[in-house]
């Protein structure tokens, strides 16, 4: 299996850094190939702007349209094309980041914003002319795993925990980004209480991560509905027979 590990932490000498080292070693021992995008080390440009497409500064910038055009014309900036090439190579993406303000650090958000452009990550039409999204699309067939760390205790991220159930807090990534582009979203892997982790806690986290990597190919992904699988009506609303009487992001699985 080919694994692309995207790392978004400013400090290699961190818990996250040592977990990545451990993770890559494990992948190798399992016989998988891996490549790494260490966004801080690469000095990854986080912000979408006209330089991504070579748009002239006096032209009005339509971001989505320019992304699509520049992708089709092979005119996206070289750093973006390199990431797209790595994604194309990979069977599985690992997104590894500390949870900041309940989402990815800006440098990783900018990786999604800049790399997953229309035509590559989404916006591809199927044989019937419908756009392929949510379970189908540019990255269909791949899997994606979040590896994250949070300072808070696990109970606060449970189904009724104050911070919000982790799978729902991460819905914009799991469903809105991975599943949207066709990738199967694996249950996220989280290290809790990361600020106060003892050596034993660290060892437990490393072992838990190794176990998740051993089952990377077999772990059932989150069972989101396919957009074109019959669960949604023409207005893209979940039909009443699915999760009857319920609402909220939890109904989509």
């Amino acid at each position: 299996m080919n694994v692309l590990w995207i790392f978004a932490h400013p400090e290699q000498r961190s818990l996250a850094g040592s977990l990545m080292t451990e993770g890559l070693r494990t992948l190798k021992a399992l016989g998988h190939e891996h490549r790494v995008s260490d966004l801080y080390a690469m000095d990854w440009k986080a912000v979408v702007d006209a330089d991504d497409f070579g748009t002239a500064p006096d032209e009005r910038l339509f971001v989505g349209a320019e992304q699509e055009r520049a992708y089709a014309d092979g005119e996206l900036s070289a750093d973006i094309r390199r990431e797209q090439e790595k994604i194309a190579w990979a069977d599985t993406l690992v997104l590894h980041f500390p949870l900041w303000w309940f989402g990815p650090p800006a440098i990783l958000k900018g990786w999604f914003d800049r790399v997953l452009v229309q035509g590559f990550g989404f916006g591809i039409k199927g044989p019937d002319g419908r756009t392929l999204r949510y379970g189908d699309g540019g990255l269909a067939g791949k899997r994606a795993l979040i590896v994250t760390s949070v300072g808070a205790r696990e109970s606060g991220f449970g189904p009724r925990g104050i911070h919000g159930h982790l799978e729902e807090v991460l819905f914009p990534l799991l469903h809105g980004t991975f599943w949207y582009t066709g990738m199967a979203a694996l249950p996220p892997f989280a290290v809790y209480g990361a600020d106060r982790l003892t050596e034993a806690g660290h060892a437990r986290s490393a072992e838990a991560l190794r176990e998740r990597l051993r089952t990377l190919e077999t772990t059932p992904p989150l069972p989101f509905h396919h957009e074109n699988g019959g669960a949604y009506d023409e207005d893209l609303v979940l039909r009443p027979q699915f999760a009857p009487g319920r609402s909220g992001v939890g109904v989509h699985r």
Copy 2:
């Protein structure tokens, strides 16, 4: 009222740009003061790194601890301190951005990551020694409004829409950022179908925004529970008498 308008769109000559112009004009006509953080125009640095705190490059960087120390010592970089000063001045924050991958563009995510540091936005202790969060905290008493635009139709963002109910998709901002730091989260304002908006549609959006700004002081915020108000137990789990039998991010209001 003092309003800080934070704008995160790369193109002033966009729907978003003209809505901001309209919004600022409305605020002025209503007798409110405003200041603007136009993040692209400011060339806002999106990425947290050691330069924010003057940490020596060979020192291991503990982001949270360094943010707290540098804030206390007045050593955060000048661009961060200027934003904190604007927030302190403001009664209301308007966060205005196109929804990219179901969240804020990286440049705005980085504004949260860099500006809302421990000691300023959160991590302040109350008289009983408990940390003030979720309804209390560094920014208590302020209000925050999201103004966003999305390409998709409104139905897809409804309570059972495929993209996820907008208020739940934005939970990391509304609850995890605004409410976490003490700010009352107003119901978000969204322009749907923004890519295909007709002139009439644009006029309707502008009028709807004006109406939201006219009622900025009186609109009831989203009724999230206070952390220290009795709704949560010692593990920060919602007590069974609230939203009985339900789970997911929707239970917190």
